[in-house]
Symmetry: C2
Subunit: 203 residues, 2 copies
DNA sequence: GCTAAATTCACCCCTTTGGGTGGTTATGGG
DNA sequence: CCCATAACCACCCAAAGGGGTGAATTTAGC
């Protein structure tokens, strides 16, 4: 079941969207009325998609949120919009949204926009390495930053020596943290660890 | 660019579908008017999706083709149908198609059915190991049966010893064919080979 | 200040992997 | 029959990997 976050400051609209999402079989894991709270939600709730009101209240608007999503997270976003001036539209295009839902909307608008966004995102980013939060949510495993970094390097097919050179650390540090990573993942070879990452990406 | 195979015995309709597919940005790699020829096409043309007329001429109808696709290949199919009696509809449901295009159809019908089918298939089968034909088409590399089998085992995270035990061969045979596989893939570790498989699956 | 966790790194030892060399047998096509 | 290809297997040796032990330093929370 895909997890949806809704960022919309008009309570009636947010509730309507939530109602449609649930009716369509999605799981609404968070509803936020301002951008700062939404950012915390992105970090902790591991959504599969976010629906963002462009003109959201708070120090961060929908476009700011979209930028953060693109930099730090691995899920698509769709904008909710009722109107937009030319300058805003230009900014909107810069962050490359996966769709727009124009208010007032129907349930079918929600459905098709979410489906298409997930599809486009799937096409574009199949192979996106799971985030630390995602690994925690799916496996209940908390990786340290270094463990996570080496997990990524390993997934890229890098040898221990290549990782040491790439991250400017000793090969002994690489071995140390691969050891702890393997223990956490309950595997005993890099092949098994890579497979674990692949399986995580299947959902 | 996604590769489409059309299996339809009414020439005018087949040509119309081909026209729409090309207009929508897909590549039509094969058009077949009977089921036996279509089977050959599936084996050699590496399609991303097949559009199957239910009542196709030949010893194999659309439903038979769908069964073979499900058993032997790794791509979705959408049925083309103008009418269907209850018995046929039951059989159709058994093979779990990814959509239906009802005649007469519009270009939008073609577009949305192909998009949704590819999306559903991507969701369902992300992680499907590429076929030998697919590897040949994408990398121009012809793997022998044994090389391919070991590539799959490696992708599952198996050690050389585990592969030897699983396939009832000597570990020396495993090493021999991993060596030739690595040469063909131009990699020098199992990690790199696994990554190559992952990248192949991204398309 | 103390403690726990994270990070950094070393070293030991054994196993596994991968590049190389070589040989035999079976099969299919010309 | 001949040749090319595929499959089967062995052995050598060096490099890489992985499980273990240990120590020092840094950071954050109590």
């Amino acid at each position: 079941m895909k997890r949806v976050i809704i960022v919309e400051d008009e309570a009636i609209i947010a509730t309507e969207i939530e109602y449609y999402c649930i009716d369509l079989g999605y799981k609404v894991v968070g509803k936020f009325m301002n951008g700062d709270a939404a950012l915390d939600g992105f970090a902790t709730l591991d959504p599969d998609i976010a629906l963002l009101d462009i003109n959201i209240k708070g120090s961060k608007d929908g476009i700011d949120l979209a930028r953060v999503i693109r930099e730090k997270y691995n899920f698509p976003f769709v904008f909710l919009t009722s109107y937009a001036d030319v300058a805003t539209l230009e900014k909107v295009k810069e962050v490359l949204p996966y769709g727009y839902i124009v208010k007032p909307f129907t349930e079918n608008d929600i459905r098709s926009n979410i489906e298409i966004a997930l599809f486009k995102f799937g096409q574009e980013s199949m192979g996106g390495f799971p985030s630390q939060a995602s690994i925690f949510n799916k496996l209940n495993i908390q990786l340290t930053d270094r463990e996570y970094q080496l997990f990524q390097g390993l997934y890229e097919g890098l040898s221990n020596k290549a990782m040491a050179d790439t991250y400017f650390i000793s090969i002994n540090t690489v071995k140390t943290y691969l050891k702890s990573l393997f223990t956490k993942l309950d595997v005993s070879s890099r092949g098994e660890a890579m497979k674990k990452a692949i399986d995580l990406m299947k959902g």
